[in-house]
């Protein structure tokens, strides 16, 4: 088969993926195409994840006395050793994949991430994490601002959720929302006119009326769609060998994995799922609704990481998880937890320096306990979430975090990459 390297590249990697089971080669090839570089995959757990049931302080007696129904029994936690303050911690029993990742040194856990005067509102809280601005004076997202610093490409960001998160909002870069790569296309039943329709729609959307910026905005979105359809289509069929669970979160990660393996050039992916606003019925004895959430999260991320390991881009990928706040220390009357403060963040990837960063709170309700706030009701933050962003921007993406975040948050940043 005589195929020149040039044709090989122009035709894309896809046609050859099945023939060459050599992940490193594919990755190198994709690099040669200039497409594959370090990338960031954000995982957002919507609703305020209950950090204390994710990373369990299972030797703290107050954990059990203040959560009599919903605490994860000490015998069930997946022990991950002790943090810098000597506090023994364990992962939720449904996070077995993440425990393995932790043991291999590729999962970093940042405890008590947050900011001063944490908002208990989902919407304000999410906006604060998305803009990296607790004053809410910034309209663009922190990742949108980052994408403004990389070469312009309509697919430099990829949101796998229907609504574009504010984190990816930018006045200069339009990030496509691609919840389902297979459904991302321009279809026509009108066979004789199909090509003419697409060409005309593309031309119409290129008109940006200066006197009607709202029309121009919609046309910009349409333009970005037309500019990305064909590349996205190349990632719409999964060619890997890892079995993902059949849920929206896992399937979105599967598509992201395919896009990474194909090296289509995206720098920042956004994947999320909700249901973490567990005001009621979190479940007992390590089972129930919260365990289901943990299973979806842990199994999805573990499958994704395994997929990347097998097929190459593992060392180029950083998965960063967050949620808008942690939940209250004590359970409420409906066996759930209300909105709290300090949250947990996680990072995974082939180049991650795994381990436990920061210290766990003491859950002693004594109002003088410095690791809690709100009369001992909520976890006080210790690590500014913006310092984590700064570390990722500077040390992983090679950007200038002070310029992007509007201030220098490098001090005290966990050295997770």
């Amino acid at each position: 088969m005589a195929v020149s390297r040039r044709e090989f590249i122009r035709g894309g990697v896809s046609a050859f993926t099945i023939g060459f089971a050599a992940p490193a080669f594919l990755s190198d090839l994709a690099r040669a195409q200039g497409a594959l570089a370090r990338n960031l995959v954000i995982v957002y757990l919507g609703g305020g994840n209950d950090a204390l049931n994710t990373v369990v302080p299972y030797t703290d007696p107050f954990y059990y006395s203040r959560r009599p129904n919903i605490a994860v029994p000490a015998g069930q936690v997946l022990q991950i050793g002790s943090d810098g303050s000597g506090k023994a911690l364990g992962l939720h029993p449904r996070l077995t994949g993440l425990r393995d990742l932790y043991n291999s040194g590729r999962l970093a856990i940042v405890q008590r991430a947050g900011y001063l005067n944490s908002s208990r509102s989902h919407f304000q809280g999410k906006d604060i994490w998305d803009t990296a601005n607790p004053g809410l004076t910034e309209s663009e997202g922190w990742l949108g601002r980052y994408l403004e610093t990389v070469p312009l490409d309509p697919l430099s960001g990829w949101s796998a959720t229907q609504e574009l998160p504010r984190a990816l909002l930018s006045s200069q870069v339009s990030v496509p929302a691609i919840p389902n790569a297979a459904g991302y296309g321009f279809s026509s039943f009108n066979a004789a006119e199909a090509a003419n329709e697409r060409a005309t729609a593309t031309r119409i959307s290129s008109h940006l009326p200066a006197d009607r910026p709202h029309l121009a905005f919609v046309n910009t979105s349409a333009q970005a769609a037309f500019a990305t359809i064909d590349r996205v289509a190349s990632a719409s069929v999964y060619t890997g060998t890892v079995t993902y669970q059949n849920n929206g979160f896992a399937l979105a990660l599967r598509t992201v994995a395919e896009a990474l393996v194909r090296g289509i050039g995206t720098r920042v992916f956004w994947v999320q799922f909700g249901g973490f606003d567990t005001h009621a019925n979190e479940g007992n004895a390590g089972a129930g609704a919260y365990a289901t959430l943990m299973g979806t999260f842990g199994d999805g991320v573990a499958a994704f990481c395994e997929d990347l390991r097998r097929r190459g881009p593992w060392n180029d990928t950083l998965v960063l998880q967050f949620s808008e706040f942690g939940r209250r220390v004590f359970e409420n009357g409906s066996q759930g937890t209300d909105h709290g403060a300090g949250a947990v963040m996680m990072a995974a990837g082939g180049m991650v320096r795994g381990g436990l960063y920061g210290t766990a709170p003491s859950l002693d309700p004594n109002p003088a306990n410095p690791t809690l706030e709100n009369n001992g009701g909520d976890v006080r933050f210790e690590t500014d979430f913006r310092s984590v962003y700064a570390r990722v921007l500077d040390n992983w993406l090679g950007a200038n975090s002070a310029a992007i975040l509007g201030s220098d948050f490098r001090a005290g940043a966990p050295a997770l990459v």
């Binding site: 919507g46 609703g47 208990r120 509102s121 989902h122 919407f123 304000q124 949101s159 229907q162 609504e163 574009l164 339009s174 496509p176 929302a177 691609i178 919840p179 389902n180 459904g183 991302y184 296309g185 321009f186 279809s187 026509s188 039943f189 009108n190 004789a192 006119e193 003419n196 329709e197 005309t200 729609a201 031309r203 119409i204 959307s205 008109h207 009326p209 009607r212 910026p213 709202h214 029309l215 905005f217 919609v218 046309n219 979105s221 349409a222 970005a224 769609a225 990305t228 359809i229 909700g274 606003d277 005001h279 009621a280 409420n332 009357g333 409906s334 759930g336 209300d338 909105h339 709100n374």
Partner: protein, 485 residues
């Protein structure tokens, strides 16, 4: 029926879902204010749209195995609602029901996850008297769409779907539940900046005992959930807020016997509904919904709408009336400056392009990738409106729905456009008149003309009209000029 009455069309896009050709004939000869009165006083029109379901003159519905069950199957409930939006003769009532659905955003999936799919659908959409139990949340929103906002808040505080959605059903004096108490202040009334965390705790205690009860046996098909105030679950002690609860300025709801404790919630809701910042926040939301999302709210209009609401006993009708009569509403510069919601987009396209032989089920499934599944807002803050609707994927979905609808209607379109067969320009003029997009600049107009001229000489044959006509229609419906109401 040519479109020449742009003021009426603007009104029908905003206070309804657009105008079908039959609508335009019906309103021919009426003044804009006459049509406004017709829309506002919708009680004068019969509420019989459901009886038209299944009639071949109307958009069709898909009947699944077991028959069409809009009170117990959520997909059928969605079909019924979309059918109503297309064919109702009370468009403003339906429009405001959609507005309130976003305002009191409640998602079916949590209700169904708690009580099962049949109870979940009933709690969202049951029409009073059709299945045993209270009417669904949408029916309440529709009933009070232009009523007193105080009544609407009380109805939502007692609404069984809301009691599941924001966990009021488990709010007891032993363990107060903050979820509803927080959101009624943050999202349903005056918004952040007007209350403290201590107010949230007090609000939770106010609604302790506003719970649910189950009627009927476990396997009894006529069983249901309904609101019940449970005195034993109510915290009877006094509750103090940082804002006035009573007209004398008192910030404290007094201690009362548990049996009378439901009055706490009524007092609290009265205070929230009458708070000037609630009036202003509602007015700003209505401005964005009814007047413009592009032009920022005008202070005089917001003040006037808020006063109309407050002076008429928290009347929603007064506020809407004020907005729709305002000079800013009438100003043609503000027409086509509101980003259409996906539900509005599909319904308007159907009304303007035609529906004979089209199934509303196609619109229901198309709404999923556009980002608006009815009865399934993403969270309690509702959908992200405006630009939020226009991600790349959602824009493609709109273009693809346009293609599906236009191809389905190609024979009807070609027949209707027969008189315009003489030239591409005539066909374009016909289609722009039939639909109601914003003005096209010359450049996109040229692209549309080029589309018609490409691929062979113009003959005006039936086949050409069918093929070019539906292609042109999908291009217009899929263009940015058509995404605004």
């Amino acid at each position: 029926m040519a479109r020449g009455r742009t003021g009426i069309e603007h009104l029908l896009r905003r206070a309804g879902f657009g105008a079908s050709r039959a609508d335009l004939e019906q309103f021919d000869g009426m003044s804009v204010s006459g049509v406004l009165d017709y829309l506002l006083n919708y009680e004068d029109q019969p509420d019989d749209v459901d009886t038209k379901i299944g009639n071949p003159s109307y958009v069709s519905i898909l009947s699944r195995a077991g028959g069409f069950q809009p009170n117990s199957n959520i997909e059928d409930a969605r079909q019924r609602w979309l059918f109503r939006m297309v064919h109702t003769n009370r468009p403003l009532q339906e429009k405001m029901a959609l507005f309130w659905h976003n305002h009191f955003a409640t998602a079916y999936s949590k209700i169904a996850g708690t009580f099962g799919v049949v109870q979940g659908t009933k709690l969202m959409a049951n029409v009073s008297g059709q299945l045993p139990g209270p009417q669904g949340q949408l029916e309440t929103l529709r009933e009070l769409a232009l009523g007193s906002f105080t009544d609407l808040l009380v109805a939502m505080a007692k609404d069984p779907a809301m009691l599941v959605w924001l966990d009021g059903r488990v709010n007891t004096r032993q363990r107060p539940q903050e979820n509803f108490g927080r959101e009624i202040m943050e999202l349903f009334t005056f918004g952040v900046g007007n209350y403290t965390e201590q107010d949230v705790y007090a609000a939770a205690r106010v609604f302790t005992g506003w719970n649910l009860r189950f009627i009927g046996g476990r396997d009894d098909p006529s069983n249901y959930y309904e609101f019940l105030y449970v005195p034993a679950n109510h915290d009877p002690t006094e509750k103090t807020f940082t804002f006035p609860i009573y007209s004398n300025g008192s910030q404290t709801i007094p201690a009362r016997a548990a049996a009378d404790g439901m009055q706490d919630g009524i007092d609290f809701i009265n205070a929230l509904a009458r708070h000037p910042n609630t009036a202003r926040r509602l007015a700003r939301k209505m401005w964005n919904f009814l007047v413009s999302e592009v032009v920022p709210p005008d202070d005089d209009t917001i003040g006037g709408a808020a006063s109309a609401y407050l002076q008429n006993g928290t009347s929603i009708r007064s506020m809407v009336h004020y907005m729709l009569r305002s000079r800013e509403f009438q100003n043609p510069g503000n027409w086509h400056t509101r980003y259409s919601w996906p539900a509005e987009y599909v319904v308007r396209a159907i009304k303007e392009l035609g529906w004979t032989g089209f199934s509303i089920e196609t619109a229901r499934t198309a709404l999923i990738p556009m980002g608006q599944v009815l009865f399934e807002p993403p969270d309690v803050a509702g959908w992200e409106l405006g630009r939020g609707w226009f991600s790349t994927g959602a824009m493609l979905s709109r273009m693809n729905f346009a293609g599906t609808l236009a191809f389905n209607q190609r024979f009807n379109l070609a027949r209707d456009a027969a008189a315009a067969r003489q030239s591409p320009e005539a066909l374009l003029e016909y289609m722009l008149d039939r639909l109601s997009p914003a003005r096209y600049d010359s450049e996109p107009m040229e692209h549309l003309t080029t589309f018609l001229q490409t691929g062979g000489a113009w003959t005006g044959s039936d086949a050409q009209l069918q093929s070019k006509g539906n292609g042109l229609a999908r291009l217009i419906l899929g263009s940015s000029e058509y995404q605004f109401v």
